[in-house]
């Protein structure tokens, strides 16, 4: 039956329902687990094969040798496309994807993160 204003019933009902939008950033709903966010590097497992560097589509990760069998990873969060290919390519499972996605910074230099092979994780925030 054609009539104008068919959506009125839904509209009145919506008036009494909870809104579907949330007031971000006051309320943060977060992302589901398994979400591809910031990378995490475990320096003790890395063997320096650089397969992750070969497979990265945007050249965001760089592995450098800083000591005898010690490697550090320099990741440019601005170039990274968060695809997780490096995680799949790594033979020793030294890379891991976390669900952290609020990575905006004010200058491009702050986006370059370094994971050092020292006892303290030297990632700049």
């Amino acid at each position: 039956m054609r009539r104008p204003g068919k959506i009125s019933k839904q509209i009145i009902q919506s008036l009494f329902k909870k809104p579907a939008t949330i007031n971000y950033p006051a309320i943060r709903s977060g992302m589901p687990e398994g979400f591809r966010g910031k990378l995490k590097f475990h320096p003790e497992k890395c063997i320096g094969c650089k397969l992750c560097m070969r497979d990265c589509p945007s050249g965001a990760i760089e592995i450098r040798q800083i000591g005898e069998k010690q490697f550090e990873a320099r990741i440019d969060l601005g170039k990274c496309i968060y695809c997780g290919q490096c995680v799949d390519s790594c033979l020793k499972k030294a890379l891991e994807i976390t669900a952290e996605f609020e990575l905006a910074r004010l200058t491009p230099d702050e986006l370059k993160v370094i994971f050092n092979a020292q006892t303290k994780d030297n990632s700049s925030k």
Partner: protein, 409 residues
């Protein structure tokens, strides 16, 4: 204003109605459109060239980013072509997972289109409601694949992630919810007077014109063309699924709305079948880094129509040539036909009705020499030399920089 009341009004490249830049030049007399010309190319990023300089694994992610909404379509189409060159057989579970993500993407794309169509005709309430329902699909996809768009679920030889029983439960629940909402939208499309008034009789494309101009996807199916790659040339797991190809005889924007709503209902049923029938097994096979020489063509039914990829390999890690023909390129030619003798107010909804994705469309540059009235295609080097000569005529000299560059290379 010139020519006895005819105005030339530019519709784009920047315009609130267009989600992506595109240039239409419309000649108006009062409110009636008398002529229209289309100009493409604003979203050209050189992806086909970039594919030749990256390995196949890196190309997976690059090809996926041709478009945000049909990303899985491009990725799967590309990967199917590569797998055909290598000549491997996928495990069944991988095929089913690819089909699942493909259908979820179709649901997401059609709900997005409903909202955009509502916005173009001034019905913002429909936009808000459909995009709220779309969040259900996007959250589901984020749980299954790890991202809301650009899923990255494909790898050469299978898929990268498996689906757990808990995720299967969630998918079924989401399908129930969305099916109920879509039934409401179908009843709305059939009953709401202002919606029907704005959508019917607009953008009429007869069956013969659709066949002649090569319309694909829901645009063609709304004019009675029964063409769907999933039925005509099945890939992934579609050969084992039971579904109907939805067509309509309305031949206008209203028909396209009904076709897309019908396809949504079919997609819900297909997702349920996939979850029920998915076999156990491995999710990927190992494929060597160097792909043997050969060429292959693959087709995929993207939400907008038939997507077409051609890949040629030469035995190395990087492809020799990748060519993409997106569905919107086939559909853009029907826009001029549909807008003959129509009003300006129909312009946004007609363009929106073919579900344009101009990021998919802009692939090839053809150089048109208006002086000699001849067309020819240039290779990279000759294009650079032509550019340097043109700028020299304008007074900017790039020759010393060019020399430096050739010394470096």
């Amino acid at each position: 204003m010139h020519e006895a009341g005819e105005v030339n009004i530019p519709f784009g490249p920047q315009h609130p109605a267009l989600k992506e830049p595109e240039s239409f030049l419309i000649s108006l007399r009062g409110e009636k459109i008398t002529a229209m010309s289309v100009r493409l190319g604003y979203n050209h990023r050189g992806i086909e060239k970039a594919c030749e300089e990256r390995t196949y694994t890196q190309d997976l992610y690059l090809v996926e980013r041709i478009c945000g909404i049909c990303s899985h379509s491009h990725s799967t189409c590309f990967v199917q072509a590569v797998e055909e060159i290598v000549g491997i057989e996928l495990p069944a579970r991988a095929k089913y997972i690819r089909t699942l993500i493909g259908e979820l993407e179709r649901i997401h794309s059609h709900l997005l289109w409903l909202g955009v169509a509502g916005h173009e005709i001034g019905f913002d309430t429909l936009l808000m409601y459909t995009w709220r329902d779309r969040e259900v699909v996007m959250d589901l996809l984020a749980k299954l694949t790890g991202n809301r768009v650009n899923y990255g679920i494909n790898s050469i030889g299978g898929v990268r992630r498996d689906i757990s029983p808990a995720q299967k439960e969630e998918t079924l629940r989401a399908m129930d919810l969305l099916q109920e909402r879509t039934k409401y939208y179908i009843s709305l499309a059939k009953d709401e007077t202002t919606l029907i008034k704005r959508l019917s009789g607009v953008g009429v494309l007869s069956n013969e014109d659709a066949k002649r101009l090569g319309a694909v996807g829901p645009t063609g199916r709304a004019s009675g063309l029964k063409r769907d790659v999933r039925k005509d040339d099945p890939y992934a797991a579609y050969a084992e699924l039971d579904f109907k190809v939805v067509t309509s005889n309305e031949c206008d924007v209203y028909g396209r709305t009904l076709v897309r709503l019908g396809e949504l209902m079919q997609s819900y049923s297909m997702v349920r079948q996939v979850i029920e029938k998915i076999p156990d097994g491995p999710i990927a096979v190992k494929v060597p880094r160097k792909i043997p020489a050969g060429e292959a063509v693959s087709r995929y039914e993207a939400p907008r129509g038939e997507d077409f990829h051609y890949v040629r390999s030469n035995g190395t890690e990087k492809p020799d040539r990748v060519k993409v023909r997106a569905p919107t390129l086939a559909n853009i030619q029907v826009v001029s036909k549909m807008l003959e003798n129509r009003y300006l107010a129909d312009m946004p909804i007609v363009v929106a009705a073919i579900d344009p994705c101009f990021s998919c469309t802009d692939r090839l540059i053809a150089v048109y020499d208006s002086g000699k009235k001849a067309k020819n295609t240039l290779v990279w080097e000759s294009l650079r030399i032509k550019g340097i000569k043109w700028y020299k005529k304008q007074g900017v000299d790039f020759a010393p920089l060019n020399k430096k560059l050739t010394q470096l290379l």
